[in-house]
Symmetry: C2
Subunit: 485 residues, 2 copies
Amino acid sequence: MKQREFNLDKFAHFSEWYNTVIYAAELADVRYNVKGFVVNRPWSSMAFKKIYALFEKELEEDGHLPVIFPSVIPEENFEKEKEHVEGFAPEVLWVTKAGKEELKRPLALRPTSETAFYQMYQLWISSFKDLPYKLYQSCSVYRNESETNPFLRGVEFLWIETHNVYATSEEAWEQTRKDGEIMRKVAFESMGIEFLQFQRPKWDTFAGAEATFAYDCLLPDGKALQFGSTHYLGQHFTKAFEVSFLDAEGKRQVPYSTCFGPGIWRMMAAVAAVHGDSKGLIFPFDVAPIQVVIVPIMKGKEDGKDILAYANSVAEALKEAGIKVRIDDSDKNPGFKYNYWELKGVPLRAEVGAREEKEKTVTLVRRTTREKTTVKAAELVQKIKEQAAVLLKELQERSSKWLLDRIREGGDKEGVLRILEEKGIAKAFFCSLEMEGKKCADELKEYTKGGKVRGKRVGEESQGNGCCIMCGKTSSQQAYIARQY
Amino acid sequence: MKQREFNLDKFAHFSEWYNTVIYAAELADVRYNVKGFVVNRPWSSMAFKKIYALFEKELEEDGHLPVIFPSVIPEENFEKEKEHVEGFAPEVLWVTKAGKEELKRPLALRPTSETAFYQMYQLWISSFKDLPYKLYQSCSVYRNESETNPFLRGVEFLWIETHNVYATSEEAWEQTRKDGEIMRKVAFESMGIEFLQFQRPKWDTFAGAEATFAYDCLLPDGKALQFGSTHYLGQHFTKAFEVSFLDAEGKRQVPYSTCFGPGIWRMMAAVAAVHGDSKGLIFPFDVAPIQVVIVPIMKGKEDGKDILAYANSVAEALKEAGIKVRIDDSDKNPGFKYNYWELKGVPLRAEVGAREEKEKTVTLVRRTTREKTTVKAAELVQKIKEQAAVLLKELQERSSKWLLDRIREGGDKEGVLRILEEKGIAKAFFCSLEMEGKKCADELKEYTKGGKVRGKRVGEESQGNGCCIMCGKTSSQQAYIARQY
């Protein structure tokens, strides 16, 4: 694929668009010779560092500390929480040999680390003074999957996991709300990705949790993408691992816990799919691997020298201001360079030609609309920040409009199906989000070819009464329904 | 162990000192229920983030880009480089099952990633314009070990690995020199750890390499600790994986390659062991999890309020200047707090009492010498930077003196043994550092109970001739010998 030819409508051909852009922009390579495992190339790895840093900053401000646990979990730990092992056992990769020796007991590659953390929490937590106990880990996890799709689905993927323990149930519930705020700050306020927060139906709750909250954005093919979730674990894991503490009165108590898993890998899928356009990727400024690309526009070798020297001085000034900048001084023509860096999603381009060099200005071009602004070199850092803010605002508005406009009242199951076929998210009355609703959910999924009950939207009360779209029972429960990744 | 009681001479009882301080300062916990795997607690994890960042900055300035490869490597890749597979096979952990299914082919947990990277380099490198190709990965690797010692030895440990490919052998050799410079910048100039750079004897060369350079510091028990190495790989891996490129004349060529592995985990061991003293850890300012701890000194509740408010305003100012600061406002007495934060190795303590509050000053205490300096609050940020620089200088001088003073001429094998028994590094004539010297090296190791030939010191020429301390052959080759981790 030649970059200059890239011009593909993501709405009309999403799957082709996505695979092409991921490959052509050099975000990932699926040709590694183990099925299910993807190589994250430098262009995504640089962005991952920034996405991780955004979450880590928010988590630390909320009192979490970083920790690095072993990647393996012994079988005996897994078996301690019954629902958890049932949920995860089919997906676990097992280490069984070291050199030529069989291990005495197999070790799981962590699919998630509750059963590693709680093993230690039992040792670390003993008094109410130790609580709350809030740790996070930035790492890979491993879940056996039959499909591979870069950043969307794979055996090994990148995430953060928090594991928090509280003296009271109230504090644990409060954390589930705060996790949603952290997700809002990073995903929407820094990265411009609109999403909805749901409490999942009981049958779709994390293995070992009492309640699951999840963050869904909407891709251009109308499928929801969950890019993170928060679980209220009650006393499931603290009881299973015999974690307890002495309260202020000296009485032994069992604490409550939560976990939060921002799906860093899927955040990259969302950046690519939600923000990208027919020319390629669009990175929000805060997570862009390169934030400003400088393209010198030179007619001949002679005027070129001055322009290049000027471009270099501009680059130096930006570097000093902490901006990730790159000069493209390759021998390609400017048009080729524009296309290339647009495909790569660099948010701002700085054009520097003879006029700019003479007038000590820079022409800034925003990736979203290609609007040009010529600014004085002396004001460049300030103007870049302004343009970055405008770009973020544009991405936020686009993605909010895309998502929120697609939510529609389903009415009946035919209506729901129609909405899903039109790439929408349906809202409809549903008999129950407890286990007794599962039968209707299964039938709905079959009827709509993949439509899934996403749950109850957090912060929204159901209005009035209606009939469950599947069984017809009267219900006051409204649910959201969408196809999904 | 109560913190206030910590008072142990690391030179007299190193192993006890080390294990006690690692546990008491909450750097690591060895009680995780899989042998060989250690939990890196927040206090070390925070420092690891900073150590990684120091290396990553230097590597990126030297033209490396980050990448995130799969953690697993298929068996067939391993087998492609004969020496490599022979060297690593006994240490490899194998994933053989997913859920209840046997995998068709086992997957190695990476012990190092040459055989993953070169699999892709074959696809990514095709022209001289693609070279040099320089990537790095910050990750865990896995090598089956019978011993466990936090940060020194374990099955899973933290490191960085670079994998670089060049058109010419000269450029590859030049990189091995640059890697040494990067190590110098981070380990010594930022972290204050003195070390020696050796070219290892042929028999101690990395499996698949033509030459191995290694970085050794010296722990208080007189054992050398290798905390990183660089390998000149020649065309071993590029040939095995059929990596080639078209040169400027259109001729197909096989490139040359190197790798560099800063041992991030062992850097932490070195920080603890080399800098620590009888009171606990001493973190260099640049990698300290908390750089300044503020201890408010209050007589009663009443004057406490003003002092605490003042301490908070000081903390805010430091935070804004990007300094990692923490106020210890717990109800412990100041003496307890001093001991606690000294054990934890916080480089600077800021004491704030009634006098400081009244005069708008802060009393800074340096962890190394406990020297006190009272400074105006308005000049605090500047003074902290000065004190941090003084502390770094002290650590550098101490560690240089410790290491360089311990190098002595061995003379004969009895002399070498005596030097090792006195916790020294011996320098002596040795028949050969090529394979024919291995027999003497094995005998020396047995004779000296673990003394190993570290190799030829980089940048130093052997002086004159002498007799090999083992076989007596005349040789112009001087070698360094030490016990090791």
